[in-house]
């Protein structure tokens, strides 16, 4: 590690201060939110950044605003607080489940939304597919100003984001849709999911699907939407068995990643069952 003029961790009191500190540190600097990913760098044999800027005390970072037509989630909101805040909101049950069933209780109390979305090397992040189905947008701040972009665009750019930038908040529109999050850990709980299928579905009065959003996480390196399945679901009434059949027909478009926990074929092979479970949770 090259010695840095800055302390290994500086805890910033405000957003402005954090952005300034990050700008000063340039390529040496990096944000530290809950630390649940960063602190495990030695186990991954990765070097830690020389000068972290801690976000835990940044005023307003932990805010959750639930409005009638949209929600705003601060980057510093922990998984536990997110699950708690969304507990009774019907259209955001998928996101609530993603936050409330990830990891374990102590990690959920520390790990943040910002950390979950910003960890480029982490394929199994639960919140990413859940927010993709909500067509969420993220706000990225730097000293130069604030930029808002879709989560999808952010995921594509995330690995090459310039230093000095912070994800400050997540915006998601509310609707009459219902959402669900089907994750598959290898044990009952406590593992990273080997595959995730999140779903948000809007139906008309007759129960026919007018809009479907499906996202798949942990199967490939980065979570993504599954437009072909969305199309297959749209039109008829929601039905678990036909969702499973459609997913079986379409799953071939995924190229499962090999991992120590599971082989690539397995991640793809379980997608139909996850599609069925997600639909069943919506019925």
């Amino acid at each position: 590690m090259t010695p840095s003029a800055h302390p290994s961790l500086y805890v910033a009191p405000s957003l402005e201060d954090a952005l300034n500190a990050l700008a000063e540190r340039g390529a040496d600097g990096a944000p530290l939110a809950g630390g649940t990913w960063i602190m495990r760098a030695p186990l991954r044999h990765e070097a830690k950044s020389p000068a972290f800027v801690g976000l835990g005390r940044v005023a307003g970072f932990g805010r959750i605003e639930v409005h009638d037509d949209h929600v705003i989630i601060g980057a510093g909101v922990t998984h536990a607080r997110l699950a708690e805040a969304l507990r009774d909101i019907p259209d955001l049950q998928g996101l609530a489940a993603a936050a409330g069933r990830s990891a374990n209780p102590a990690v959920r109390r520390a790990a943040t939304v910002g950390g979950n979305l910003c960890t480029a090397g982490f394929a199994a992040a639960d919140l990413v597919p859940a927010l993709l189905c909500l067509e969420a947008e993220v706000e990225i701040a730097s000293r130069a100003g604030v930029q808002r972009l879709s989560l999808e665009a952010f995921l594509a750019a995330r690995a090459t984001l310039e230093p000095g930038r912070l994800l400050t908040q997540v915006h998601a529109l509310r609707s009459s849709a219902r959402s669900a999050h089907a994750r598959l850990p290898l044990r009952k709980a406590g593992d990273y999911p080997v595959a995730i299928l999140s779903m948000a579905v809007m139906r008309d009065d007759a129960g026919r699907v007018v809009r479907a959003r499906v996202a798949v996480g942990s199967v490939e390196a980065v979570a993504r939407r599954w437009p072909a399945l969305e199309a297959a679901l749209t039109g008829p009434p929601l039905d678990a068995a036909s969702a499973e059949r459609a997913a079986t027909d379409l799953a071939g478009e995924f190229d499962g990643r090999e991992g120590v926990d599971a082989p690539g074929w397995y991640r793809v092979a379980v997608l139909p069952a996850l599609a069925r479970r997600a639909v069943a949770a919506l019925l």
Partner: protein, 785 residues
């Protein structure tokens, strides 16, 4: 005299453990202590060209550096094939190359980084198939030069040890016209103990002796092995053992102690060395991976006319415990059932992978898996109910074991009946939720690893007694419950009043170690003898005081009295105090070793024990539900009927059974170790190595079977090892019944099960096991010539 040591006595260490006050080895420090670290090889095989420590030694804070030149000796349980540091050749990823001690852990790490190492890579054998291939590179090219402790095992090249059993004419049995021949193959992966406390040591060099404080099950092995590695007399090494934070067999062999000892001597300071979790994962002395072919000739009535099997055990880069364990095939794979003729070959195979070791019930676990799945395949082949087949063929009174030992008493059959009664108490779980349901009952045979133990009991003038042994408290509670109970019951005092000395090789006599279910049996036998010695002395003295004969006296409830109502007497404290004044302090010593049950001459070759002194039987039963879409197995209920001889403390045994079964569920379902083509272990921590969590387990229903014959003290048997024995077997048989698929491998992870269900899994072929039994042997069965 009969001693009734049955109690519900709670362990005295619980309170400190619950309040964080217990100081394990990892919690210990000494003034001026240095921090050590070990440099480990990153390739599986190679010629070690240079290990240059000169730059590292010059770094700030570095106080001592040690390399192969400092540790000339070799050690091994059967074959002395283990050098402390790689000796010119690197044999596995993780093999130690050098060790350093510095003022801070960071300085020690910096020193490791500054050591210059050159290794010329050599081809590696990572699997047993590679190791046994013709012309395979040898893991130990100099295998012929190693000292071999016991004689009789065939060895050559990558076969570290070969043990054989032959009883009767197996060829004739297979040639009988009335038999069906059933053949099965199996493979299992490694299992990591994941003991919560890693291997840890604090070593000092004082008054020309080493004092090693370590987290171990085997203080005397540490003493003797350290001395051998360092080339010093064993009397120069003292080992003491604080409470151990979990062991399960992991700490049944020497580990990192000699590094700390060496560095302490070189630096003149106390040295602390603690394995990181990653080091624990990579060098854990796993339960070995194994491959098994088993073939039986069975009549339509279920009589097993002949059985033959070949078991390959991967010992990794050193023979270690596996060399001894080749013996145990005879008593596990060759156990459970009445056999006509039998022949078994077990080969410990060297590979360029981290060495394996002992783990709770060792190879018994997978041999039982193989045997019980094979038994179910036999039942299917002859069209008999699997339970009925077991009822007809399990070992009973007077039956011969594989090595010709005669079993006493009907144990397994009544245990099967008890299991049926236990099962009848709960209703089956099956519901129509799309999952596949299955159930199975299996039987298992294990043993108590007896052998030398010593104990001293000192009677104190205040009425308490001090028990001094080399026994270690590893969590099972035997030092906290069983042993003080035995001493207390013998002396008529409360178990709370028995002080148990922590293991110290300077204070207590030799002991094989805590493991193999031997704590309460071997140490118990020695402690019982020592307490009886004290009892006899106290009674003789009290008889004088009371003008009676010792036979007239009772010793109970803290008093020695003349038998009968209102008998005159004294408190034991009073007798002890008076005896101390008149004769000097009262103490007693006791010793125990294996009694030696005979086998049939000529049956075994290369075996460390020919027969088992104290067999232990187990019957397990469980119900599972298998998710056909994802391959997840849920264990719905689990039942154990366990042969305990006599239960001294039912609560303590119950705790061991629940814990052992859950470790077995991990082995059966979750805990996977994979080794890549370069010899790296891929699971490096709790994220990737998945042990059961609270949500994955069920409460085990337990029925303790008492009264089976036992040579153990007070009729007891070891109870802590055996609970894991047939869990892999039971879950595998239940999953096979649920899915109708041939289960041949463990662990049954969701991907493996889904693969079976989807027909992706080809039938397991083991081409490196020869079809003809004799072609697998280095030399024909028989004594070394």
């Amino acid at each position: 005299m009969t001693v009734d040591a049955v109690m519900e006595f709670r362990r005295r260490d619980a309170r400190d453990k619950l309040t964080g006050r217990t100081r394990y080895t990892i919690d210990r420090a000494a003034p001026g202590m240095l921090h050590a670290a070990v440099l480990r090889a990153e390739v599986a095989s190679g010629r070690l060209v240079t290990v240059d420590t000169s730059k590292a030694a010059a770094l700030p804070g570095v106080r001592a550096v040690a390399t192969a030149a400092d540790a000339p000796g070799r050690f091994g349980i059967g074959v002395s094939d283990h050098s402390l540091f790689a000796d010119g050749q690197v044999r596995y990823v993780g093999e130690p190359l050098a060790a350093v001690a510095a003022d801070t852990p960071e300085q020690a790490q910096a020193a490791l980084a500054a050591i210059e190492v050159a290794i010329e890579p050599l081809p590696a054998v990572v699997t047993m198939a590679e190791a046994l291939a013709p012309g395979a590179p040898l893991v130990h090219p100099d295998w012929q030069d190693y000292e071999v402790l016991p004689v009789g095992g065939a060895r050559a090249g990558n076969v570290a040890w070969e043990a054989t059993v032959v009883r009767g004419d197996v060829d004739a049995a297979f040639a009988r016209p009335d038999v069906t021949v059933v053949e099965s193959t199996f493979r299992v992966g490694r299992q990591n103990h994941m003991a919560f406390e890693p291997r840890a040591v604090v070593a000092r060099y004082e008054e020309d002796r080493f004092h090693i404080e370590t987290s171990t099950q085997v203080p005397w092995t540490i003493r003797n092995a350290t001395a051998r590695f360092l080339g010093v007399p064993a009397s120069q090494v003292r080992v003491t053992v604080p409470p151990v934070g979990g062991a399960f067999g992991l700490k049944f062999d020497v580990a990192i102690e000699p590094f700390a000892a060496l560095l302490a001597k070189k630096s003149g300071r106390a040295v602390r060395l603690v394995n990181s979790r990653e080091e624990e994962m990579l060098t854990c002395l796993f339960r070995e991976n194994a491959e098994i072919l088993i073939r039986s000739a069975v009549t339509s009535e279920g009589e097993i006319a002949g059985r033959e099997a070949v078991v390959l055990m991967d010992c990794g880069a050193h023979g270690g415990e596996q060399i001894f364990l080749t013996t145990m095939t005879a008593h596990t794979l060759g156990g459970n059932y009445k056999l006509g003729a039998v022949r078994l070959a077990t080969r410990a195979v060297y590979t360029n992978t981290p060495p394996n070791g002992a783990f709770r019930a060792c190879n018994g676990v997978y041999n039982t898996f193989a045997l019980e799945r094979h038994t179910d395949e036999i039942a299917a082949a002859i069209g008999m109910d699997p339970l009925e087949l077991r009822r007809r063929t399990v070992l009973g009174d007077g039956d011969l074991g594989a090595t010709g030992q005669v079993f006493e008493g009907d144990v397994l059959r009544p245990m099967l009946d008890r299991m049926e009664a236990l099962r009848a108490r709960t209703t089956p779980h099956e519901v129509d939720d799309g999952r596949l349901y299955g159930r199975a009952t299996t039987v298992g045979t294990w043993f108590v690893f007896t052998g030398p133990s010593a104990a001293t009991v000192n009677m104190n003038a205040d009425g308490s007694a001090t028990l001094v042994t080399s026994g270690v408290e590893i969590g099972s509670g035997s030092m906290m419950q069983g042993l003080p109970q035995i001493v207390a019951a013998t002396l008529g005092i409360r178990p709370e009043d028995v002080i148990v000395r922590q293991a110290d090789t300077d204070a207590a006599g030799y002991d094989v170690g805590v493991g193999g279910g031997r704590q309460t049996t071997s140490l118990g036998a020695a402690s019982l003898a020592a307490a009886q010695d004290v009892r006899a002395k106290l009674l003789a003295f009290a008889a004088q005081l009371l003008e009676a004969t010792p036979d007239d006296l009772v010793m109970a409830n803290g008093r020695i009295e003349i038998a009968g109502p209102n008998g005159k007497g004294f408190t034991i404290a009073e007798v002890a105090a008076r005896a101390q004044a008149a004769l000097g302090p009262i103490g007693g010593t006791g010793a125990a070793t294996r009694t030696g049950v005979p086998s049939m001459p000529g049956c075994v070759a290369g075996h460390f024990i020919d027969a088992i002194d104290i067999p232990v039987f187990a019957v397990h039963d469980c119900e599972v539900a298998v998710d056909r879409d994802t391959g997840h197995v849920e264990v719905l209920n689990y039942r154990v009927v366990q042969d305990v001889g006599r239960a001294l403390n039912r609560s303590a045994i119950g705790g061991q059974i629940q814990g052992g079964v859950v470790q077995g569920l991990g082995y059966a379902l979750h805990e996977e170790v994979s080794i890549d083509a370069l010899g790296h272990i891929r699971q490096c921590g709790f994220e990737t190595y998945r042990v059961p969590l609270a949500g994955d387990v069920v409460p085990v229903e337990v029925d303790l079977f008492e009264g089976a014959p036992s040579l153990g003290p007070l009729g007891i048997k070891g109870a802590g090892e055996v609970p894991i024995l047939n869990v892999g077997a039971t879950v595998a048989c239940a999953v096979a019944n649920a899915t109708g698929r041939r289960v041949q491998e463990l662990p049954l992870t969701p991907p493996r099960i889904l693969s079976l269900l989807l027909g992706r899994e080809p039938d397991l072929a083991l081409p490196h096991i020869q079809p003809a039994f004799a072609d697998n042997l280095l030399r024909p069965h028989g004594p070394e010539v």
